[in-house]
Subunit: 182 residues, 2 copies
Amino acid sequence: MYEVELKVEADHERVRAALEDAGAGPVDHVRQVDTYYDAPHREFAETDEALRLREETDLDAGETTTKLTYKGPLVEAASKTREEHETAVADGDAAAGIFDGLGFAPAATVEKERERFALEGYTITLDSVEGVGDFVEVDREAPESEIEEVREGAQSLLRDLGFDPDEQIRTSYLGLLLGDVQ
Amino acid sequence: MYEVELKVEADHERVRAALEDAGAGPVDHVRQVDTYYDAPHREFAETDEALRLREETDLDAGETTTKLTYKGPLVEAASKTREEHETAVADGDAAAGIFDGLGFAPAATVEKERERFALEGYTITLDSVEGVGDFVEVDREAPESEIEEVREGAQSLLRDLGFDPDEQIRTSYLGLLLGDVQ
């Protein structure tokens, strides 16, 4: 399965009104604090890898979980497919201590509030990223044979919500925060 | 708190009989599969560090948990105090995938059955280590001021169980498996 996603900058008040009109259902509302690490033996910016510790608090339930994620370089450019490994960890401070001991250093922190909605088989995500801005993302998993169809559906959905899919932003929040040129 | 521990090679049948006579209570019975990693940027044998992924199966309950542990070099030689960070991980395969992606390689695996008993405030551990042998370990936590007293108690307990505490083995199971000289 592949992840098809489209992200544009967005005024959230306008999106919320449009989502309500369209009958979208709320999924969850979380706060995510992502710490990205530098490696002692590789330049991740050059090798196109990432090591991330994500602390996620469910703002409805008040529960916090921590996940550790490694993203490898692109294995297929067209579909943006990467090797990715992720596991929940019981003790986020201990996980940070392990990487600190191994010589990895926190390089950047991305903090955001994330609200998810479901609409026509797609997930609509409203992200408020501290120091970066507000965004709306439309995404859906698809088998390889349906990538184009699902992408067109996402574009059409963005248009229905009042956005121009041609204004798609491909840079990650980390990249935007660090001022990377798109 | 410090961990006082004494380990000797042992015939488990004899220990079990002695433990029963002494009225020791069974605590748990687990199988541990420990994978030790080599780092891409450091020689752990020289830096005196260790990175370990431990898969532990409770042989009574049938449940398996995985823990990730980093042990730093000795910060105080006399008490064998180390920087140590440990967290449970939900997905052991993903954790292995993360370290594989980062360039860490499995270096050695230590597999053992471990039975724990409680006796006079001490934990008595019977370890059957594959490819190494059978051992009994007596251990207890102690504040710095009571280390000597607790160590003498452990020696006395080993003697009561029929062992000579002077035959103490200080090498880790990993060290014994790899044939390190004590």
